[in-house]
Symmetry: C2
Subunit: 647 residues, 2 copies
């Protein structure tokens, strides 16, 4: 790298124009990352995913012609940011599709739909377990005597005396509440409602102090908003609930802004070890993603963000480290030790969140470097920890995690599936939001597809989410359009070839797509998917084998993950993703990391139960088990090198 | 005010150039305040102090010719920012003397001098009272077993288990400590020192959790820095101490940046009620003054600011409200009720300070709207609360506060002296730092002064601090240069007259001054001072009268305040500032707000004692007592309308 520096200007289409200095020889993806400019690079700059397209408007850059860019586009100045190096001052056009993962944000009122049903089921379950109304938050209405010349007691002391007299307990005021106190008192004739968190009495005989978090004017019984957050490697989802009733107020989801540092946790960890990288990664998820989602969900629910008094975050171990700004490199280095399994109850202000500054933020506990709080929360949500029957819990995320067992024993392991199930690493992949093909069947004769697309009637296709991908590949295989290796072996108007001879199957022509470009699956996409499903299947086989169980021992299978409209299990079995056991044993239970976090925020009892569960799960490091790699290789076929497993 | 807006550009001499939009008719002082530009205006824009001088470089402004500006200067474009209104786009030159109060910052190593002596005396006193080594902070050295493939416990859980095993207590990790943990462990072979705050066990049988605040590499026994801060209306002072030994590490002081919003607390409160005003006032003291002083004191002591683990702030009631960002208007409105007397133990991060984020910050408790934590801390420091003899405690600040009594009863009251004792509101006034005339005598024949100036040998005069002012006016009166009303009644080379006929006495000619301009006292200055000393004397008389004591009942007088090198009591009595009792009964004990805060930060016991003291002091509202105004008016003479009092 030379010591010359050049000025790089990024013109973001339909957005601002930013510029940064870059040393000679740096790749433009690195420059963009340092400048905090959002360019998706799921492959972390390896030149494989082709998502970091930018257009060279002025200046020259050096780099080879990438296969993902057509000669016409190349001539028009299109490049891959990861593939070109700085050799002069430059102006780059960054298309809006860059940063799409971050920008594809969605806020819902949860008035209906699958999510709501899942939460309601969980709610009933919680009622049965007595997990309700024990969030530790309360409100109390107090009317104080107004001060006078002969009664000049200060507001705070006046309030705390009244509180002690009314509740028989001592309390303190958060600084947020103290700042609201004088004017609220005088605007409401000294009658107010206090929102408080009960002190945790370590011994009933020695009550500890309560903390008053907010001061509200009198009137309608206030809601007590609590926030449940699932931070996935690829996506972030959250729900806002009234802790008093368990009612869902709103939901929101968006892509994890860290995607531009790589699709998998290892690339993120490596990026976080660069100078200033840890803070960049923390901000990418907290400031670019979580804060705007919180703002959106609060606007929808009609409350201020400081009106959220409690939160729970469930995430895999890498995400909990990067979210809290804790150095994560040791997660990927032998002996693979996290900095923490659990954390103290930190406050919103400690974590740079925009909730009530003193809101407690709990993290679901991890049990290892690759089995995190998303799984321990998910196990609570699935209920497998209290069943006598042997259940298999499968969380389909960028990392695939498995838990097998019953109320007696629980064993877990993880495998790296890649982001395919969440639409990452797939040229037309997307999360399960409007425009996503969530189901599909193909006519074996005509090769014509029939698509089910998320969104209002008449919605055009924008891409495929995980469930659509499973369907499409299952159908392509059934119709003999692709072979066991995932290569396209038929021709027709639905089949296209690029100038390098790589073939694609077109699900929707430009005319029927949102962008005007074809929505298609190429052989690289299919290969990524096969590795993903192979990782899942081989992990299941290996874990059972190590535990000395046969596949028939599985009495129930609970499939979790935000991959779309549940799963067509038949097709998933056909392509060798899941073991061949009766379809009715499979249950798709949605995003259990989120629903588990919802249970934890609603109930201190549920949160304690998750900690108890986490301490009871045995963690299995697959990679250290001989035979796992062979299992994986054998599973990277459709359906499997040993077809007998699926007959 | 018109609805036209104009662009005002402020060119700060030797600094940056800033610009802001101002509505037609706004005064340029208001515009500067909104834009956060530092222009001193001790009189809060009433046109009396003449300190807000700016030069009109371009454009026109409307306003009368102020008496403080000579015709030559006026012709050269000099104006008072408070006296001119926006009628067009403007460019103003702001001289560096503007904001001087804020900028005059001083960091000392306290290796010698009066301050040190005062603290050492207090230290002995604390030892006697057993107030030492109970700050609640401790360190503990721990050596952990390094993790291995068959021992993959996370760092946090590994540390907390070792801590419980070693200390028999539970602990938690602050997020600051958690973030430092993984690398510090690995850089020091898993042997570390933890800095922790012991949990307050409300019952020994039910120990509460300790909090680990910092993780340090092993080696030399670390210091445990604690910070004591005195926020005065005019000045801010602080000392850094090692809580383990009580040793002083460094000291620092500077002007309170709020000065540009007015010299007295009432002007500050009114400024804080404007839109955005409360936050502007909070920042003026916290971000412009306290944070840089903390940075300076830490650099001097060679520690990071996050290495400060505990702090105490002592300040008057208005300052504690503005410092914490709490609405203060009700302090000045009947029935004069503060929002708080005491606060919870807030953490550095809650208050926007740059200490260890979880450092506890205590505020010395107030007892009324005009008797604050500076006085309760001062009473501890003075020791009058434990004496049998009747003592009078006098704190000479912008507000003068008095406490009279003994171990049986304590009575307090406040009076508004104005900033004269701290050099405010005096044309050549300054704080007691280098260049300040701190003592002075005048030859009755020649009218020539002999000055004692703070600073190294050969230091030229820059202005007068409080003690110098008392001396100078005492001498001017003794020599018959001024009369009982403070008017200059002699002529000579030391006497000058401005074009309006107002006379001045020149203490140092330009040739012998730092700035090259004369250091002098004019009749306006003398009048301000006479009102200040009159307020103090009349308050003493009134309080004693109300309590039915005569002046002879005073057995000891303790004079506090950062007014310089103690006081020449004889001269102070001669001008009618203090009652005529034997000089040896007077003791100057320095800045007791700061030394009291030092005792509180060093010792939880001392902090508890201040709370106990504060609850035992009776507050007297002088203004509501008939006769006080007459006393005041009678005291606004040299020495007093009733001269017999001083014979």
């Amino acid at each position: 790298m030379g010591n010359k520096e050049y000025r790089i200007t990024f013109a973001i289409e339909g957005g601002e124009t930013l510029s940064a200095l870059a040393p000679e020889g740096e790749t433009l993806l690195e420059t963009a990352r340092k400048a905090g400019i959002d360019i998706d690079a799921p492959c972390s700059g390896n030149g494989t995913c082709g998502k970091c397209r930018v257009r060279l408007a002025e200046g020259a850059a050096e780099g080879a012609v990438p296969r993902q860019i057509s000669p016409e586009d190349y001539a028009a100045g299109w490049r891959l940011a990861c593939g070109i190096k700085v050799i002069s001052d430059l102006t780059l056009e960054v298309p809006p599709s860059a940063g799409a993962f971050k920008n594809r944000m969605k806020v819902t009122d949860l008035s209906e739909g699958r999510e709501r049903a899942a939460f309601e089921a969980l709610g009933k379950d919680m009622d049965e377990m007595g997990f309700r109304g024990d969030s530790g938050l309360e409100t109390i209405a107090l009317s104080l005597a107004p001060p006078a010349m002969d009664d000049a007691m200060a507001d705070r002391e006046r309030l705390l005396a009244k509180y002690a007299e009314t509740s028989g307990r001592e309390a303190e005021l958060s600084i947020f509440a103290l700042r609201k106190l004088p004017q609220t008192l005088r605007e409401s004739d000294f009658s107010i409602i206090c929102v408080l968190r009960k002190g945790e009495d370590r011994d009933p005989a020695v009550p500890s102090r309560d903390l008053i978090l907010d001061i509200l004017p009198p009137g309608a019984e206030p809601v007590l908003p609590g926030l449940a957050v699932d931070i996935g490697t690829t996506s972030v989802a959250m729900v806002l609930t009234d802790l008093r009733t368990g009612k869902l107020l709103a939901g929101a989801s968006g892509g994890n802004g860290q995607i531009r540092f790589g699709a998998d946790v290892i690339s993120r960890i490596i990026a976080s070890t660069k100078k200033g990288g840890l803070e960049r990664l923390r901000r990418a998820v907290v400031e670019e993603c979580i804060l705007p989602l919180i703002q959106g969900i609060c606007t929808k629910a009609g409350i201020p963000t400081e009106g959220i008094y409690r939160a729970v975050v469930a995430a895999n171990t890498t995400m909990t480290h990067l979210f809290t700004g804790v150095y994560a490199d040791y997660l990927r280095l032998e002996p693979y030790v996290p900095t923490f399994f659990q954390t103290a109850k930190y406050r919103s202000i400690d974590l740079g969140l925009n909730l009530n500054p003193d809101a407690e933020v709990l993290l679901a506990p991890s049990i290892g470097s690759y089995v995190g709080g998303d799984i321990t929360a998910g196990v609570l949500s699935s209920g497998i920890y209290k069943k006598d029957t042997f259940s298999l819990f499968v969380d389909l995320g960028t990392n695939g995690e498995l838990v097998f067992g019953n109320s007696e024993l629980l064993m877990s392991c993880a495998c790296s599936a890649g982001p395919a199930f969440e639409g990452g690493d797939i040229s037309c992949g997307m999360r399960a939001t409007d425009g996503a093909v969530e189901a599909c069947s193909i006519d074996a004769e005509t090769m014509e597809p029939a698509l089910t697309i998320i969104g209002p009637p008449g919605q055009k296709a924008a891409g495929l989410c995980g469930s659509g991908l499973i369907d499409a590949i299952g159908e392509l295989f059934r119709c003999g359009i692709i072979n066991a290796k995932g290569k396209i072996i038929k021709e027709g108007k639905r089949i296209s070839h690029d100038e390098y001879g790589a073939a694609s199957y077109i699900l929707a022509f430009g005319a029927d797509s949102v962008t005007g470009a074809d929505v298609s699956l190429n052989e690289v996409d299919i290969d990524s998917f096969i590795r993903a499903k192979g990782a899942i299947f081989s992990a299941i086989r290996s874990m059972l084998a190590i535990m000395d169980f046969s596949v028939d021992a599985i009495e129930e299978v609970y499939v979790a993950g935000g991959i779309g409209s549940g799963i067509n299990v038949e097709k998933a079995i056909r392509i060798g993703m899941f073991p061949k056991i009766p379809v009715e044993k499979y249950h798709y239970i949605g995003n259990t990391s989120l629903s588990g976090a919802y249970a934890m925020v609603s109930s201190a009892g549920a949160a304690a139960k998750v900690t108890e569960i986490s301490q009871g799960i045995t963690y299995l490091e697959l990679s250290s088990h001989p035979g796992y790699m062979d299992e994986f290789v054998a599973a990277c076929f459709l359906p499997h090198t040993n077809g007998a497993l699926f007959e």
